[in-house]
Amino acid sequence: MASAKRYAQAVFETAQTAGDYDSWTVHLSEMSDALQHKDLITIMNAPTITEDEKIEVIKLLVSNFPGDFETFCRLLILQGSVSDIPDISKQYQILVDSIKGISRVAVTSAVKLNKNEKTKLTKQLSDQLGKKIELSESVDESLIGGVVIRIGDKVLDGSIKGRLDSMRSSLLNG
């Protein structure tokens, strides 16, 4: 995990000099999706398969394969860290988001939010955080009401369920 951060930083700096963040985002996420298949990791770590053969496999998976990405993959193959790519992709996205001033927010609500509510929420969050907000939403009926907002590690729990839970523990300990 810690090494993923370093790789992501290196990729980020490369992308910065090239002035193109998005193509790396695409490549890394395509690779991450492909690595969902455990067999691919086995192939990448197999010592009997040569580096060139492995690169050929990757070429089949990634569209529009640029030279930068090839060298990056070769490096990871040599280090045996191909399985870190999903983490690298995540860390890279965090770095790109922070330079673009984007904050990714996951909102979980009891019922599906309507458009009006969404814009209101986005506006309030972007005012508070001073960043552009990219909202991703999901519905969880067990919340009963209200919303739970996640920004990275931070959680704002405004749900009825969360309130009931904390009320229960405060009553039990009171």
Binding site: M1, K5, R150, D153, K154, L156, G174
Partner: protein, 503 residues
Amino acid sequence: MANKGQDIVSVIKKQMESFGTRVTMVDTGVVVEIGDGVARVHGLSSCRSMELLEFPNSVFGIALNLEEDSVGAVILGDERSIQEGDEVKTTGRIVEVPVGKELLGRVVDPLGRPLDGKGPIKSETFRPVERVAPDVSKRSSVDTPIQTGIKAIDAMTPIGRGQRQLIIGDRSTGKSQIGIDAIINQKGQNVQCVYVAIGQKASKVSQVVGTLERFGAMEHTVVVAANAADSAALQWLAPYAGCAIAEQFMEGGGDALVIYDDLSKHSWAYRQVSLLLRRPAGREAYPGDVFYLHSRLLERAAKLDAESGGGSITALPIIETQAGDVSAYIPTNVISITDGQIYLEADLFNAGTRPAVNAGLSVSRVGGAAQRRAIRRVAGRIRLDLSQYRELAAFAQFGTSDLDQATLTQLERGQRTIEILKQGINEPISMEHQALILYAVTNGFLDSVPLDAVGRWESEFQRFMQANYPEVANGIRESNDLDETQEETLKKGIEEFKTSFIA
């Protein structure tokens, strides 16, 4: 009953009303690894060291290792309900414990939760469990004694308020008993006691509580217990919690006595936690900071100066040695931290010398200054007498027929001194009565009494003095000294008693 139900309803109502609608941002993480009382939590980027973490189902943990992406935490409580992938929240609180007079008479765990079934602790005051010890400018030197009520200790290794005196010895040599006797003897002395049981059998802890209750000593005592079945984290936390409770008494200007029973098990618990958190192991597999573990705890025992209220914490840590080995890692550490030690020996214990205090190896580095003048006057020679006796006794094993009269007298005196220093359990003796009997033995009044009658002589003598010359004991109690007129009366009393005593 209806009344009580109404009470509960109104309490709940009040709490519900005051229950804010405020939503606060909390830092969260995800459990990636759990087992053996230790969890690795991914995330928690703004977590602080020693912060209380909340796991699901109201299980709490303490963040100990803060790493780049994850936090190593120990679980306080049942870890079986926690699974990989569970969400962990920070609480913003450092581990704390309720303190104050409300805890007196109670048995609590290291987080201040009651273990005695006597209902919730009503204390409003909390203190962080870990705290930096009072610094030099706030301390004064140890000048008041704390009486343990044990003749051998008060005479030879006196303990002052604010001192740290180690009790060390093999298993079942009467270590805990010294602590318990000391607590019993504080009854009516305005000293609040804290007994910290670390990793002991629950049956033994309940026995101790029973003893303290029987002697009315629970009124001024708090028992903090992390038993053998509790998690290592709780055992590790227990002495710090006990110390925090005592600090509250100290900072209120009072005197406190803390017994840590025992720090050997405490270091085992900490070793377990450290190894599970993958901290590097050192000598005997203890982590590198095991010295600091105990030094920072015992440093919190202090005598404050008048400006800071003049309170004190006296600490009596207990260490169990293996086969008398005082040069093992933990014993040497704690010996070097404390201001002296009471060394208990299995051989002496088995030979019937109880308390089994080894006078040669036991020292008190600061308590002498605090000793009452009366005791210092009568007991000043005891250590010397005993060490000379021991030397001669080794020599006299080969037969006493060739020895001169002076040597024989010294041998007789030594045997009687040892006999007088014997004392039953849970029978602490007040300072003035100690002074009377020690005066009698050090001045040779018992030399002619047969050895097997010494015990009876002592008890009958105390009764005789109480009946006929109570002014001597009263005078010593009031002035803390034995002046010449009292000494004359005492001598007269002893002579009188000796003629009436039939061996």
